[in-house]
């Protein structure tokens, strides 16, 4: 009931459609019984049973003609009302589906990173597809079927009762058996159908894994074992399918059998009533009775399904409500965010910042001041909290205690939009969208002043929103691609910057993805640029060119570079070393090497690993070698 209450705001938007539709169902159901009435009148007229003189016909041919026309007119009327019903209720349910989907999408856009860290994409997708579909089915098919069943039974029983109470009692006695058996079967079908679906997804997952892991399967020559496994799963699918067919296949024939047996009983009893000779029950009435009963076949079948549809719809709606009820911890708080802050220079300050996830401490009492224009290097072992520093700046999360400041403002007082407009992040594993390369690089451009999609309103009569193409400034896009060392790759694609990425387009290599993400970040001219281990998939030659490009854009900006390689970090104005969430060292490369702490140890390890004698070759030659490499053309990425 509670779930119905929360559904009401959506139902209310279309209450007129639902109301008209439901009335139409009742009318259609009543009118639908008229053809059998006309058939009865004809038969009784022909037999002359209701006539004063039973030996002569009590009806004329023109009357029969009228009855025949009546049949057609009645079915046309019923059909018209069914059409109205579908165009009202079923369309309303589709519109509600659209509205719920639209509103959830809007709500999801407002949720923060901590939410998405916990949520699984597959689960969210299931709710937005399967659960939403179940709710729609309840509102559309479910709603009219309930009214259809109720009004169908009511009108049919009224007619049957008026024809013969004795026969109606027989039907009433048989009804629980019929409905009970069909409901039982419906439940069995549901259960077995789920079993089939489970096996289907297992077998699809097996195929998916086998095909994407083709290199392993072939490399270790395990094809025959894979085929064996697949065949076993295939056989299980066959078993489950046959078990489903055993109950699903004969559903209609069971209905048919039960109605047939009921007909036999009615023929026996009804025949006796006719043979009583008092004229209260006629052959025409008998025919009408049986015909009317047959009209109940479909509603009877539906009784078993309708409870399932309603239950599924209600519990699905609860799962959708959970999405609506999720709240973002990170958001612009009223009275706290100061809309007056519109530009940022890039002074960054961490003041006693601690972050805890439940029991686990990710950052502990970190204080750090980074003046605008500083190139800050951050390093430390995996899990030391490096990435969290960047996430605090963009307010992907808020600290448990302490304050993060940009330009002296607590980041929580800076409107999220302003804050994020001034900071660009290149994440470790960048996510690119299936769109053109130009639009992916210009991802953060031209997003201001767009109309908002209205939520919580009916789609009926709402004009469609304009289609505003992105068209990013191509000069800026090209320049960013050049700086990120991506321009050469893009120009090699036949469609250049219009090349579409993703499933239906080109798949980029890991290095190309990282460089696209770098271009996407620097095209915005951010005050603060955060690079989170974003050169890991780039080879040595390319890394060098990107670092040069970065140095070009970095002038006057705050750059926070998170990484492991000393060769990358050593240019930083300032380097901090994190370990277990604590800031353990801070200074320039030379300071830290001299200090002989953790950083010096990493530097020593990397140097030792190189097994390179310091005096093996003079430094001058290295410069020559590097220059030579730089002027060699980049080899194309391998086609895989």
């Amino acid at each position: 009931m509670d779930s119905l209450r929360t559904l009401w705001p959506y139902l209310r938007l279309h209450r007129r459609q639902y109301l008209i539709g439901l009335v139409a169902v009742v009318i259609a159901n009543s009118v639908n019984l008229l053809p059998w009435y006309f058939i009865r009148l004809t038969i009784d007229g022909v037999t002359g049973q209701t006539d004063a003189d039973a030996a002569t016909a009590g009806i004329t041919a023109s009357q029969v003609g009228l009855y025949a026309l009546g049949i057609v007119a009645a079915s046309a009327t019923a059909g018209l009302f069914m059409l109205i019903m579908r165009r009202m209720i079923v369309i309303a349910s589709r519109q509600t589906e659209y509205e719920v989907r639209r509103d959830i999408f809007h709500h999801l856009q407002g949720l923060d990173k901590p939410y998405y860290d916990r949520a699984r994409t597959g689960d969210l997708m299931n709710r937005l597809t399967g659960d939403l579909g179940a709710v729609r089915e309840m509102l559309g098919f479910g709603a009219w079927q309930i009214v259809n069943i109720v009004s169908g039974f009511a009108t049919a029983f009224a007619v049957m009762f008026s024809l013969s109470w004795q026969l109606t009692l027989i039907v009433l006695a048989l009804l629980p058996i019929i409905v009970g058996l069909l409901t039982y079967m419906a439940r069995q079908i549901n259960r077995r159908h789920t079993h089939v679906q489970e096996q289907n997804s297992l077998i699809a997952a097996k195929a998916q894994e086998n095909f994407s892991g083709a290199r392993v399967v072939k490399g270790y020559a395990t094809e025959d074992r894979e085929i064996g496994d697949y065949r076993a799963m295939n056989l299980e699918l066959l078993r489950r399918n046959i078990s489903l067919i055993k109950v699903d296949g004969p559903l209609r024939s069971v209905m048919n059998l039960l109605l047939g047996l009921a007909f036999g009983v009615i023929l026996l009893v009804g025949g006796r009533l006719i043979l009583n000779g008092d004229g209260t029950f006629t052959i025409g009435m008998f025919t009408q009775f049986v015909g009317t009963l047959e009209r109940l076949a479909f509603p009877m079948l539906m009784v078993g399904w309708i409870t399932g549809i309603t239950q599924r719809g209600l519990s699905s709606w609860l799962r959708l409500r959970e999405l609506f009820d999720a709240r973002a911890l990170v958001r612009d708080e009223r009275g706290r965010a100061n809309p007056g802050i519109q530009t940022l220079r890039g002074d960054v300050e961490f003041d006693g910042v601690t972050v805890r996830y439940g029991e686990r401490t990710v950052l502990e009492d970190v204080s750090l001041s980074v003046p605008a224009g500083t190139f800050l290097g951050v390093t430390g072992p995996t899990g030391s909290g490096k990435t969290v520093l960047g996430q605090l700046l963009t307010r992907s999360m808020d600290p448990t205690s302490g304050v993060v400041r940009v330009d002296g403002h607590d980041v929580r007082t800076i409107p999220l939009r302003t804050l994020r407009d001034h900071i660009s992040v290149v994440p470790q594993e960048p996510f690119l969208f299936s769109d053109s390369i130009a639009n992916n690089i210009g991802f953060g451009l031209g997003n201001r002043d767009l109309p908002e999609v209205p939520t919580g309103v009916s789609v009926v009569g709402a004009p469609p929103l304009p289609d505003i193409p992105q068209n990013p400034d191509m000069d800026r896009v090209r320049n960013a691609a050049r700086l990120a060392g991506l321009a050469g790759d893009v120009e090699d694609f036949p469609q250049g910057y219009d090349t579409v990425l993703g499933e239906r387009g080109v798949t980029l290599s890991g290095g190309q993805r990282q460089r696209t993400a770098i271009a996407r970040a620097i095209v915005r001219d951010p005050a603060i640029l955060i690079l989170d281990d974003s050169l890991s998939a780039v080879d040595t030659e390319t890394e060098r060119r990107i670092l040069d490009g970065l140095r070009e854009v970095a002038r006057g900006r705050t750059v926070i570079l998170i990484g492991h390689r000393i060769s990358t970090l050593r240019h930083a104005d300032q380097i901090v070393v994190l370990d277990g969430g604590r800031l353990i060292e801070q200074g320039t490369h030379d300071d830290l090497v001299a200090a002989g702490g953790h950083y010096a140890e990493i530097e020593r390890l990397q140097r030792l690993a190189s097994d390179l004698d310091a005096d093996d070759e003079p430094i001058r030659d290295a410069e020559v070698a590097a220059d030579a490499l730089e002027h060699q053309p980049m080899p194309q990425e391998a086609v895989k």
Binding site: T47, M125, N256, I423, V459, P464, I468, S567, A609
Partner: protein
């Protein structure tokens, strides 16, 4: 209203392709008994169906009408007739149910077996295909072949063939009985059937189109949803929420429009069919009643009240098979496209096959020889393609690796390192020259036997759904637990595995998302070690993404795994490979220099430059 992405055109297929049909029929052959059974049961069912109308007619004309008309007043024989009729009716219903149930189970059993055979054939075929096939066909497309395309063949069998046979039998049975009882009334009731057939065909065609459009728009909405959810944090960081919302709304609206369109067709379809049906009944009623009224004695024309009632029933029962028949060709057409795609996979040429009499190597020593190898992934490149063509990946590689020697391949991305390793396992065949193992051209060896001797540690460690142990043994029951533990201890991942809640039986979730890169790398070494290969191929560029300490552990493990085996290693980080016996430096498909680490540094060539660049670039750049 803005339309969403345009619907891809449906391939214009002939409704019936004799060749394809014959191939599908070939799958029926093993189940000939079931096929015959299904047809016989169908025939029996069709024969029983019209009898119910006859019994009703008999009961009305012989038990009820004589009394009503005052012809007979003795109720006893009438009651007896009535009881006989009712009991026969009920008995026949039970028989009908039994026949129908039998036919449903037979057809279901037949269909499911055929599906299972087709599915197994496609999967087995795909297992036998060369790796290049997987490069060219996205995984999603291959999955469609073994799932929805196979389901479409099911549609062909049940929705197409079975309903064609069943509907045809039923229509014939009803036609025979109706025409023999009263041919004039029969013709009257048939008069509406052609209209019904064409109306049904027309509407179902439109419905099919609009359902196809629905599915397409739903797929667009789903892929946009998926992308937005996965990339939500990126969207938020770049302040792009409104653009994404606008974009999504267009897709969402297009889906709504498509759905509304199908509702519109469907809402017309049902009433039109119902009205056509009732017109048929009204016609039968009118003509039957007129004739009953026109002649004073029923005996003259043969039309009785019972006949009238029976004809109303028969006419109603004819509607369903007629509508099914109207849909048969639509179903066949849809299935044709799918079966064509399936047979296309089954007909794919297996590019890499064992020659007749392909040899196995025993003993296996592990010498690898590249003899003037030219290779390109592009299938269009042949031995005659000019040397200057850009598509060549390897351009004349000569390399001889002794048994037990470890060789590191060094070079920039695209230099051809990965291709060298792929050729040793014979994932691809070379265009010129030959790759030899122990002096035998790999094309003369049995693929399976060759690959059993070659272990691969992949760049992107692929973990299957299952336990850690099953991922290490690759489900080979012949590998003992002790051997697994031993290998894990050896590479130094045992302690980590034991620390997991279920140890070696811990389920690997979501492709190992919970494992760190370093741990996955170590598992990959353990996996290779357990298979105990004679030749080891390591693609370890992934080590670049781990911290220094883990990297050192991986290096230690790598050194252990390499011992006593022919090893070919690819790595970014020079430090990983300095311990190899020989370093082969590649550039644009050619070997530019080779030798030991020391010797190459002394030579001061390309390797020395690469090496120095990595460790001295800070100084060089300032």
């Amino acid at each position: 209203m803005t339309a969403g992405a345009p619907l891809p055109p449906e391939p214009n297929k002939a409704a019936f392709d004799a060749h394809l049909t014959r191939r599908i029929f070939r799958y029926l052959r093993p189940y000939l008994a079931l096929v015959v059974g299904a047809v016989l049961l169908s025939l029996a069912f069709s024969g029983i169906q019209p009898l119910f109308g006859l019994i009703q007619r008999y009961a009305i004309d012989n038990a009820l009408t004589p009394f009503v008309n005052g012809v007979t007043t003795d109720r006893e024989p009438l009651l007896r007739t009535l009881t006989t009729a009712a009991l026969t009716y009920m008995g026949l219903k039970v028989l009908e149910f039994a026949v129908q149930y039998g036919s449903i189970i037979t057809i279901g059993y037949l269909g499911q077996n055929v599906l299972r055979d087709i599915r197994a054939d496609v999967f087995t075929k795909i297992q036998r295909l060369h790796l290049a096939f997987f490069d060219q066909n996205p995984v999603g497309r291959l999955i469609t072949r073994v799932t929805s395309d196979v389901d479409a063949i099911n549609q062909f069998l049940t929705g197409g063939l079975v309903s064609l046979i069943q509907s045809a039998f039923l229509i014939v049975a009803y036609a025979v009985i109706m025409l023999s009882v009263d041919w004039r009334l029969g013709l009257v009731s048939f008069s509406v059937l052609p209209f019904m057939y064409f109306a049904s065909n027309y509407f179902r065609g439109h419905l099919r189109d609009s359902f196809r459009n629905n599915r397409f728009q739903q797929a667009v909405v789903n892929s946009k949803l998926n992308e937005n959810i996965t990339g939500m944090t990126t969207v938020q960081l770049f302040g792009r929420e409104r653009r994404m919302a606008l974009d999504f709304d267009h897709a969402n609206r297009a889906l709504l429009t498509a759905n509304e369109n199908s509702v519109k067709w469907f809402s017309l379809f049902m009433p039109v069919m119902a009205v056509l049906g009732q017109i048929g009944i009204a016609l039968v009623l009118y003509f039957a009643a007129s004739r009953l009224l026109g002649q004073d004695a029923a005996a003259v024309t043969g039309v009785t009240v019972g006949t009238l009632v029976a004809f109303i029933g028969w006419t109603t029962n004819l509607f369903q098979p007629i509508q099914d028949l109207a849909d048969v060709f639509n179903n066949l057409q849809a299935a044709m496209a799918s079966s064509e795609r399936i047979f296309e996979v089954l007909d794919t040429e297996e590019k890499i096959t064992d020659k007749p009499g392909a040899a196995t190597l025993d003993p296996f020593e592990g010498r690898v020889t590249f003899d003037g190898v030219w290779f390109a992934y592009d299938q269009d490149v042949t031995a005659d393609t000019p040397d200057s063509d850009d598509r060549w990946i390897l351009r004349g590689i000569d390399l001889d690796i002794r048994p037990g020697e470890s060789v590191a391949l060094v070079g920039a991305t695209g230099a051809g390192k990965t291709s060298v390793t792929a050729l040793v396992s014979r994932f691809y065949d070379v265009q010129r020259g030959a790759v030899r193992v122990d002096g035998h051209d790999v094309r003369d060896l049995q693929q399976h036997d060759l690959r059993r001797h070659v272990g691969v540690v992949l760049q992107d460690v692929f973990l299957f759904a299952g336990t850690i142990e099953s991922n290490l043994t690759l489900n080979n029951p012949g590998i003992s637990h002790e051997r697994v533990v031993e290998a894990c201890k050896y590479v130094g991942v045992h302690d980590y595995i034991v620390s997991l809640p279920d140890g070696y039986q811990t389920e690997v979730r979501e492709r190992g998302a919970t494992l760190s890169t370093g741990q996955k790398q170590l598992l990959a070494f353990a996996r290779a070690l357990i298979q105990n290969p004679d030749i080891l191929l390591v693609l370890d560029e992934a080590t670049s993404n781990v911290d220094t300490e883990t990297e050192l552990r991986i290096q230690a493990a790598l050194l252990k795994v390499m011992q006593g085996r022919t090893s070919i290693i690819i790595a970014h980080r020079l430090s990983t490979i300095e311990h190899c016996d020989r370093i082969v430096v590649m550039r644009r498909g050619l070997i530019v220099e080779q030798g030991s680490h020391r010797a190459l540094l002394d030579r001061g060539g390309y390797y020395a430059r690469l090496h120095r660049l990595q460790y001295a670039q800070g100084d060089a750049a300032d």
